[in-house]
Symmetry: C2
């Protein structure tokens, strides 16, 4: 066993909370995506900030890598312990520490999942909007700068995290930010930690912005004759400042998958799923305006889901899009892409991608948070077939390169992890070396999730 | 002359653009606030990123400090070259490089001022919302993480800057961020540079978010019988999710000053200046809702300024509040405070502050961007009177300490500069040492605006 002394020290300190069984190590060897699993040498289940600091100190003293693990929904292999060592499981740190309805914020531990948070908030009249689909942990969402369907209206984790508690590589505990809405007091360490993927520190507490539950909500579906029409309608919607809460694109293949899997009656055409939040009058006005825009771009009638249960069914179907894709080809696994481009380039990006998919001969439905210029392919491959994996990589590569050519990013919301490391230099140029400088300054031994975001040795 | 070799090299490289006359050095010795001026040894007027990089390289080779200077509206002494050296004047880098109406963004040089930007944008139907009152440069606003009257709706520079070009301490030029709306590609260097006050790099290009000019705008004034009433109305407005565009508090003394200076007919009572943005129907609905809230908290009738010229007069008066304060006591200068607290503590913070002002016997009107929990005192002192300066410092100190006790920040929007250095350890704890680690990593010689934000030698 590697890191023997560290694991022995952790065992002594943590007793039963330090686990080395194969089953538990296997569970912590991977996230949800296709990346090759690597087993940690041990998994330490922590229950408090003090325990995180203690584990960190032991790892630091022994030069043992430590990789935070939430609920394992990562799409880019963030949680894979590339160099072995410890997988630090934070899922038991799942307390909602304090709700401040009067300040529209909440303080949570990192293991709280977003669905549970919203269940607990229901009676306060408030909600936490960021919604990546999966029932991810808030810690993981913070560490990967996650977003999702309603970022177009409420922002991403970048905008919705106010303050953090973080355990540093040397075991010190810092607090970044305050509960004040804004501050000009020095470097923005909160934003530096958001999206740092466990490479600069371990997040042990998160203060989140909350929003009032909208008085009125309307959701609906609008089909288009062409992809251009659908995407141009989105672009016009955003440009006209319509405060749409969700605007999701599904190409015809994704619609077919979703309709079959979720038993919805949908025409197999490029489609937008939409949602409006506001007052009764505001929602009515927004819907009407969107209807006018859609008509201008060849959109069909806007089909409403006004009842809560119909709305939930619609968004459940959207969230199950990945499972729907897998059902298109039983036994397959998705290789997921995550390009995000300036919205003016979105139609072009998607159309060229459609050509690439056709050329590749692969099954790859498209779904997108198009209001932000972000879209995903689920390239459905046989995970045992090396040729298919290679072909998927080639297709994903073309999409990433095009995003960069268009002034966009290779990852809109899934993070760097393992999958996007190879594009960081191209995306950031000399800025990438600044990231390395920061990593070296905060984690000189390179113990915090080594090999992710930026290589320093 | 100190830094003789550096200045000689800069003179050789920059010719007439490198100025050492007393008048120009004096102009670059201070911002707008009370901090003791320090002359730079030379002022270098740059016109391009290449020139900034060249100046930086020369300073780096000679170990000469370099302090960026925009238009000098800093409130916290940011531009004071504490250790002499070079004041780098970026005001001639004032090009609007590209407007992308279809993506709602614009790329500008740092010397562009916010008023000119909005004048140039007028015909596009778009505007840049961040409005600190003064006609500051966009570079300075970025470097200090500025905000202002309508941050409550549109966010601060933290939210409104998408991407940057930055010259590093070694003269390398990096680009941070992209024009995509969101990204999860590694550490957020854009946010790290926003608010870094010229201590981590020199900002040479800024990509800003734009917003559609609202179809309808309504502004108005509402007076209250008590400060509690006014502030509680604000708190309720924010908590109810009303998307107010501006909500500014003025205490009765500030109202007296503004009424006299700007010749407005205002009752000498705690007052809110408000603005709503939206569609005609949306604005009407918002105003009505606010009226209901105000009535609940003892607010008087809401007086409208529906004509553009009346609206402009109202906000002009708000922006001239500082000059109005000076007119209260001719010959005086303002010592400005900048606390920001969680909104639930705002009424308490302001009421206790009122007691402190009364105890101090000083003239100190209060004005606040209260929707964000941020409020300012202008403590009007005789700048020649050391006793008054000391008394102002004591009053400002009580306000800063209280902000920290209440879980807030000592600076909501003016930045650290010279004035807030002494509170950084108290506000950030061990996090302050992380800021020092970052400063050391990016500016090991401590040449970039040394002595600001964080001390490293």
């Amino acid at each position: 066993m590697a890191h023997e002394a560290a694991i022995a020290a952790l065992s002594a300190a943590f007793g039963d909370q330090c686990v080395t069984t194969d089953a538990v190590r296997d569970h912590h060897a991977r996230g949800e995506a296709h990346h090759t699993p690597v087993r940690p040498d041990a998994v330490v289940f922590v229950t408090s900030t003090e325990e995180v600091a203690k584990a960190m100190q032991i790892c630091s003293a022994h030069g043992c890598p430590i990789v935070p693990f939430g609920v394992g929904t990562s799409m880019e292999g963030h949680v894979v312990p590339l160099r072995g060592g410890v997988s630090l499981d934070l899922s038991k740190m799942d307390k909602i520490l304090s709700v401040h309805p009067e300040d529209l914020d909440v303080v949570v531990q990192p293991g709280v999942t977003r669905r549970r948070l919203n269940e607990e908030l229901r009676d306060t009249g408030l909600f936490f909007p960021v919604d990546p689909g999966a029932d991810a942990s808030i810690g993981g969402m913070t560490a990967t700068r996650a977003s999702g369907t309603n970022a177009v209206r409420y922002g991403t984790m970048r905008e919705c995290v106010l303050a953090l508690e973080v355990v540093l590589a040397d075991g010190r505990v810092i607090r970044t930010g305050t509960r004040a809405r804004k501050s000009s007091a020095g470097y923005d360490l909160t934003k530096l930690m958001i999206g740092s993927e466990g490479t600069l520190g371990i997040i042990t507490e998160i203060t989140l912005r909350l929003f009032g539950q909208p008085e009125a909500v309307s959701s609906g579906v609008c089909t288009f004759d062409s992809i251009e029409g659908a995407v141009d309608a989105v672009i016009m919607t955003i440009q006209s400042g319509l405060p749409v809460a969700r605007i999701e694109f599904l190409d015809e293949l994704q619609v077919r998958a979703v309709a079959a899997y979720s038993k919805l009656d949908l025409a197999e055409k490029p489609t937008l799923f939409l949602e409006f939040h506001g007052t009764d009058a505001g929602v009515a006005e927004q819907s009407e305006r969107f209807g006018e825009i859609a008509a201008e771009f060849g959109g069909g009638a806007f089909e409403w889901a006004t009842k809560t249960e119909d709305r939930n069914r619609l968004w459940r179907a959207r969230h199950d899009a990945y499972y729907a894709c897998r059902a298109l080809r039983p036994g397959s696994q998705g290789y997921i892409t995550d390009a995000c481009v300036p919205i003016s380039r979105l139609a072009e990006a998607i159309l060229e991608t459609k050509k690439d998919i056709a050329d590749s001969g692969m099954i790859a439905p498209i779904v997108g948070h198009v209001g932000d210029g972000n879209f995903h392919l689920a390239i459905m491959i046989d995970p045992e077939d090396a040729g298919e994996l290679k072909a998927a990589e080639a297709l994903a590569h073309r999409i990433a390169e095009r995003a960069l050519e268009m002034g966009g990013t290779v990852t809109g919301e899934h993070g760097v992890g393992l999958g996007k490391m190879k594009y960081m230099e191209a995306e950031h140029g000399d800025g990438y070396s600044v990231m390395a400088d920061i990593k070296r300054a905060l984690d000189p031994q390179n113990l915090l999730n080594p090999g992710k975001v930026v290589q320093i040795n």
